[in-house]
């Protein structure tokens, strides 16, 4: 007679292997979902199985894969986080078992129509973040054991990994395309100012919300912007595009950078609530003898007046835009002479773990030397240890010419 405890151990091992074997590795997310759902349905003797993914923006779950629930998949069925059975799994981030389904425990009419009686759902987690929900159901009433829940959680973890990998790739491609379309490929030719810029995507996260912009206004003023939307990926790139565009619009109407950032702040708080960005906006006068500048929580530019040492151009730091408080924003006015160089940048250029920011700022200042703007950009990029940079880097350098 077989020792029952040994049979259990073998059985557990068999089940675990069934959902983690090498064959799953080569599959994309959709294929992995289908394969995992099929296996877990068989292993646990379920009649229906489904995977819902989290749409974080909408705070809803969307059905993306299902067995016995193909119609939910076709309809891209959605449920609010917190509502119904799956919504509860999502909001608590804990497994939920319903022994007997009823109208108020299950929101999906399609699911109810299957005649399912017992439902079990587990959260799909990547670290502490919710990716989606995996659930199974049986037509006959059923007791799910602790081991069943553990197995289901294992499958959910595997599905979460597959989803993250695919989403990251798709987002990255889309964000790259968006950014390329938004960042100026060629800088404008500007009277008496030489310009150069660099955009370096970060290593760890792919693309994000950094941007730079340069534009000439109808009155001849030159506007220079460097900004950093918090977050990364496609969402940050989308918000960045909107900010860039809106700033230009306000710059046409308002001569004071502080006023422009104030209007921009109001716009982002209303239309892009939940987003936040640091920005520095400098305007160079038509005669190229003054710079007016305002900063929304952004690092100070580096200025190099002719015949002097490079220094930080300290602009009083007002709140980043999108934070949610009404702010009296301030501008400073700086007189400049021909030959002055100015460098605007994002924190990826100077911020390093284990260092006070001043170390990176000093490093940057030491690299700012007199000379053509493009050579200045090249020297900065060459002189900064890019391997240590985790973030995107946007960099604009300009020199006011004498002629």
């Amino acid at each position: 007679m077989i020792d029952p405890s040994l049979a259990n151990a073998d059985e557990r091992l068999r089940r675990i292997l069934a959902v983690t074997d090498a064959a799953l590795i080569g599959l994309n997310a959709d294929e992995a979902f289908a394969e995992l759902l099929d296996r877990v349905r068989i292993l646990l003797g379920a009649d229906i199985a489904a995977i819902m993914l989290l749409d974080a923006e909408a705070k809803q779950l969307v059905t993306v894969a299902g067995i016995g629930l193909e119609q939910e998949v076709r309809l891209a069925f959605r449920v609010d986080v917190g509502a119904g059975f799956s919504g509860r799994v999502a909001s608590t981030k804990e497994p939920v078992i319903i022994d007997r389904v009823s109208d108020d425990t299950v929101v999906s009419p399609i699911l109810r129509a299957t005649g399912v009686t017992t439902l079990i759902g587990v959260p799909m987690l990547a670290g502490a973040e919710l990716v989606g929900v995996l659930h199974l159901g049986t037509l006959a009433p059923r007791r799910f054991t602790e081991q069943d829940v553990a197995l289901l959680q294992l499958v959910a973890d595997r599905a979460a990994l597959a989803s993250q990998a695919q989403q990251t790739h798709a987002d990255r491609m889309a964000a790259l395309a968006l950014q390329r379309s938004l960042l100026p490929s060629r800088l404008p030719r500007v009277d008496r100012v030489e310009l150069a810029a660099r955009y370096l995507p970060g290593h760890a996260l792919g693309v994000g919300g950094d941007w730079f912009d340069v534009f000439v206004l109808p009155n001849g003023c030159l506007g220079i912007v460097v900004g950093d939307v918090s977050g990364h990926g496609l969402r940050a790139a989308v918000v960045m595009g909107r900010l860039r565009s809106a700033l230009r619009a306000y710059a046409l109407d308002w001569d004071d950078p502080a006023e422009v950032l104030t209007r921009l702040d109001r716009k982002i708080r209303h239309f892009e609530a939940g987003s936040m960005a640091t920005i520095v906006y400098a305007m160079i006068s038509p005669d190229r003898d003054k710079i007016v500048m305002s900063s929304a929580g952004h690092l100070p530019p580096v200025i190099l007046p002719p015949g002097e040492e490079s220094r930080l151009l300290i602009v009083p730091a007002d709140l980043p835009v999108g934070v949610g408080a009404n702010v009296d924003r301030r501008s400073i006015v700086v007189d400049v002479a021909p030959g002055t160089s100015l460098v605007l940048y994002t924190d990826g250029l100077v911020e390093r773990r284990g260092e006070v920011i001043d170390v990176g700022l000093d490093r940057l200042r030491a690299l700012v030397r007199p000379g053509p703007a493009d050579e200045l950009c090249a020297a900065i990029v060459a002189g900064i240890d890019l391997r240590a940079a985790e973030d995107d880097i946007a960099l604009v350098a300009l020199q006011i010419r004498g002629d």
Partner: protein, 108 residues
């Protein structure tokens, strides 16, 4: 040298007026969701005082700043007062001096 980030820990200490969130480790992209996850259940609709103790935080990047702002916004929504205390010099530079967030986060 780029040091690998150690996992960040968040301790919750409740008291008579509200709670203290003590963060140990870097405040960055990886740890931001954890901080929010710990804060949300504490900041209940009743109102109170949330003290954010950053004694143990040596590094705070834009993701870290973002979560600090979100904590203040969460407190605003639920009638809580946020105070941020014990910032290390490196974090003070980023958050207060250059970030302009000293008043907003009630830094003390």
């Amino acid at each position: 040298m780029n040091l690998p980030a150690r996992a960040t820990a968040v301790d919750v200490i409740r008291n008579s007026t509200g709670a203290t969130l003590k963060v140990e480790g870097d405040l960055d992209l990886a740890s931001a969701p954890l901080v929010m996850d710990r804060a949300i259940p504490i900041v209940d609709p009743g109102g109170g005082e949330l003290t954010l103790d950053l004694t143990g935080v040596g590094f705070c990047d834009s993701s870290g700043i973002s979560v600090l702002v979100k904590l203040r916004q969460l407190c605003d929504q639920r009638g809580w007062l946020l105070r941020t205390v014990n910032l290390q010099p490196a974090v003070w530079r980023i958050v207060v001096d250059f970030g302009g967030l000293g008043d907003y986060l009630n830094v003390g």
